[in-house]
Point group: C2
Chain length 409, copies 2
């Protein structure tokens, strides 16, 4: 039995409790727990908060952080695609571990990935002890052998440790045919998996779709019957009010990626529209090539400040709301019973150092986490009841960094 | 004689050199320096970059970080003003030290302050060993005794250590009369000081000015003759093309504060307009009450991403350009020969840990600093040839934090 007892830890509401974690769950949260545990952690001057769930990224692209910067979108994409074509299984493994290292250091214990060579991604996830939803990516240009292998992999995937789930990931409407989306949905549906896709990221995507199909991307996917509560739609920057209604009615999970949308000048996420429609909004960093960070703390600040300035309203997207996007909403989108510190929930949490300068003085912990916190304030990361980082030390760090640095020739 | 020798340090251009610092200046930068120095620092796996110069802030407001969040602008201001009225000299001293601690930890060695109880601010600056331009703030509501004392203080200020300069700071056109601006300019001009003011921060400010004076705030200040190359104008969000031309012609230094402008929903800084006009643009964080961070690394990212998305162009405000705003442009605005690593310049610099996960792999150091870097990658901070932080350790940290925490009752 795997047990952790956290003594005298402060909760977000300011109260102080003991927390017993066992078998990967929050077992008991009470004023004074006398049980013995394998690991005891002193909660003095620390606050426990849910860990972060990154709902859309391309982890191994950490290797392409700051690669080919300062170009127009198309020249940048061309350079990135050329480089991506050279990535080996080993590169993807090393790149994914680099990304996961960065995520743990910034408090993220789960990521929804959409990339290539999924076996290397899965190996990295297992190696690092985090959770992930690994997308098996499909495009029309994929050769039929790989396509077939991917389908077989999905059917035979045995989720042995419950830390990893799969998504079927048709890349986007401009890279996948209608038939491809239907096939992807079919296999996702029959295997009880999510369907994870890019949607309405740029104006060009929408204009091209309307010119090709006569309807918007959201209407197209709805016509194909692939939108439901197991669908994860990343971006959704360029949607109309009626698109938002469709997404809400179908209970699609929309992932907002503010840094990437701003950096690539894709556009401004329609916060008010999505909120009014009642859509489940989750938060993601997108890949490090277009962000170029994987910090969900920073992503929350970008989301909130962008919503405020774009709606001319400083009360838009308050700290508490965007904090939910990054925790419960993201967890819910992927079917996890996680994202809150409560008995019976997955024991994923962060112990935050309340003496870190960025949180002092403590006028409001959630506001400070969203608007002010350095990643450095995250002292301890626990995922599935196991300590992944304590006092900002991660055992494998040096080796991961050394391997990733070799990527630059 | 105060000397530091940094051995085998990587410069931004990728070359490796030794750097000798003496008497607060970069004395020699060469392939192999054999001189002895009081302190020798091993530059292995580190890159030397200029330190940051925060061109507009209200340091002691660090005490009000995350205070009274989630309100409309006016209710928030009312709450903040009420709280500010209770701040003692000791609070300002402790709050300024807290802010400076945060700045050092995020690589900032100079800040232009605009606040109250300037003697306490100056004491904090001296105590912490950074540089500052301390604004002596004026408003019409200031009682005449304080006003007179401020004028006297400015006239008699002996800049004993060259680390501190003063600005005369009429707060804004909605709190200062025409006569007040003229008086402020007169005393600034006759004492060789900067004039530092808020300008065109909100749409309301502009509308009220036009309705009261029949001209825009920029035209008003120009009419009063207070705009010149010693003027620091913070915000300038709501300016017209002809306003921009006036600011450029008068060589006014404009300070962009992206986080604050976004968080308060003040508006979007007109990047293209200011750049086209040829204005010297510097970067500032504004106070921690409206940011809520003082990290210039983060501020650079916000500035760049906001410029990109607001101009629909991913090549707007490239990393190299915003890096200059935060270093040379800000230093130049305040008359410092600083902001670059070059012989004869002020020895203000950061040693950045190239093994920090946020900078790995090193595809492009400046892009990674702007778009990806955690404050934690800043290993060493040197200001005026003195080490303020090494291996992220600052001697006085614990005491400063303890005092600032007491502020919450």
């Amino acid at each position: 039995m795997n047990t952790i007892l956290i003594k005298n830890i402060t909760l977000i509401d300011g109260s102080q409790k003991d927390i017993l974690i066992s078998n990967g769950k929050f077992d008991r949260i009470a004023a004074n727990i006398a049980d013995k545990a394998e690991i005891t952690i002193d909660g003095k001057d620390k606050t426990i908060i849910p860990a972060f769930y990154n709902a859309h990224t391309h982890a191994a692209m950490a290797l392409l952080r700051s690669y080919s910067e300062g170009k127009s979108l198309q020249s940048w994409l061309n350079e990135v695609w050329k480089k991506e074509a050279t990535l080996t299984n080993e590169d993807i493994f090393n790149g994914s571990r680099l990304a996961i290292l960065e995520m743990i250091r910034s408090g993220t214990v789960f990521f929804a990935d959409m990339y290539w060579k999924h076996k290397s991604v899965i190996a990295a996830v297992k190696d690092m002890g985090v959770r992930a939803n690994v997308g098996i990516t499909f495009m029309d240009t994929l050769d039929s052998k790989t396509c077939e292998e991917n389908m077989e992999f999905i059917k035979s995937f045995a989720n042995d440790d419950k830390m990893i789930s799969l998504s079927v990931s048709p890349h986007a409407i401009y890279t996948c045919s209608e038939r491809m989306y239907e096939k992807c949905y079919e296999i996702a549906h029959s295997n009880g998996l999510n369907l994870h896709t890019h949607l309405c990221e740029t104006q060009k995507e929408v204009a091209d779709c309307i010119s090709k199909y006569g309807i918007s991307p959201v209407e197209l996917l709805d016509k194909l019957g692939v939108l439901d509560k197991h669908t994860i739609a990343a971006h959704c920057v360029h949607i109309t009010p009626s698109n938002a209604d469709i997404l809400a009615t179908r209970e699609v999970n929309v992932v907002h990626n503010p840094c990437s949308n701003m950096k690539l000048a894709s556009g401004v996420f329609p916060y008010r529209l999505c909120k009014t429609a009642g859509i489940n909004i989750a938060l993601g960093t997108d890949g490090a090539a277009s962000n170029n960070s994987l910090s969900m703390l920073q992503e929350m600040k970008f989301a909130s400040l962008l919503a405020k300035v774009s709606t001319d309203n400083p009360t838009s997207l308050p700290a508490q709301e965007v904090f939910q996007w990054a925790t419960t909403n993201s967890a819910t989108a992927f079917g996890l019973k996680a994202g809150v510190i409560a008995e019976g929930y997955d024991a994923d949490c962060l112990l935050v150092d309340m003496n870190h300068v960025s949180l002092v003085p403590n006028n409001d912990i959630v506001s400070s986490l969203v608007y002010a916190a350095d990643n450095e304030c995250i002292n301890t990361v626990i995922c599935n009841g196991k300590v992944l980082m304590q006092n900002r030390i991660i055992e494998k760090e040096e080796e991961i960094i050394a391997k990733a640095k070799k990527f630059i020739k």
